[in-house]
Amino acid sequence: MAQCAASLFDPQQIEEIRRDLLKFASLQLRDHALAEDVVQEALAAALTSARDFAGRSALKTWVFAILKNKIVDQIRLQARTTNISALSTDEESMDQTFDSLFKANAHWHPDHRPAGWGDPEESLRQQRFWEVFDVCLNHLPENTARVFMMREFLEFETPEVCTQLGITTSNCNVILHRARNGLRRCLEKSWFASGERPC
């Protein structure tokens, strides 16, 4: 029995899982030390639970589910001490940039009209694309990123994001729109820049 348990918890495999999850948690929390603690707790909780894992992908899925909850707890704590809807200078400048994409009549400025991205699916298979994606996510201002990641990475429905963070739905919408446009622009500039402009 003891031997069986030992082979399940192969240190190298756990180290691999830890590394992947640490990357995920750091991106969400923007605090490496805190991310390390949270991942450690999630791993400990998963390994000490009486659950039977059918292989390592089951273990990882389980740890990931625990980790998501722990990240949300942390975000909720952070939300208590920060005003998520307050605009930082970074967020203000993102909004100004967004406005500058349009002409006075609120239609696209010809120079800034979104371009076609060709076959973006192809990009998802390239390691280099994910590095750019990481950089673009890290470029988002903290509060904007927090709301966006809760929606897209922790997969909460929008009303739940608003409730957890104590912001209004319309505020949530504004923040998500800002995040999506910021990411879109960053990927366009840093990855899809060679795409053709529509006339």
Binding site: F102, N173, L187, P198
Partner: protein, 63 residues
């Protein structure tokens, strides 16, 4: 008639809630005439897909 700026807000919200019939029709009409916004829409869809993929990579183990 919807402006492009308003259309981008609706396209973002469409990722978070079901649009009303009127909103949907206005948006469809706008998209039929506007290449820039059609690109914006596929780009937003792509972002969602990329995020899903990102989470899956973190959640699943590659053997």
């Amino acid at each position: 008639m919807l402006s492009c700026k308003e259309a981008t807000r609706l396209m973002s919200e469409a990722q978070d809630r079901k649009l009303g019939l009127g909103e949907k029709m206005n948006l469809e009409m706008h998209l039929a005439m506007c290449t820039g916004c059609r690109h914006f829409k596929s780009q937003t869809n792509f972002l969602r897909e990329a995020c899903r993929r990102y989470v899956d990579e973190s959640r699943q183990h590659k053997d």
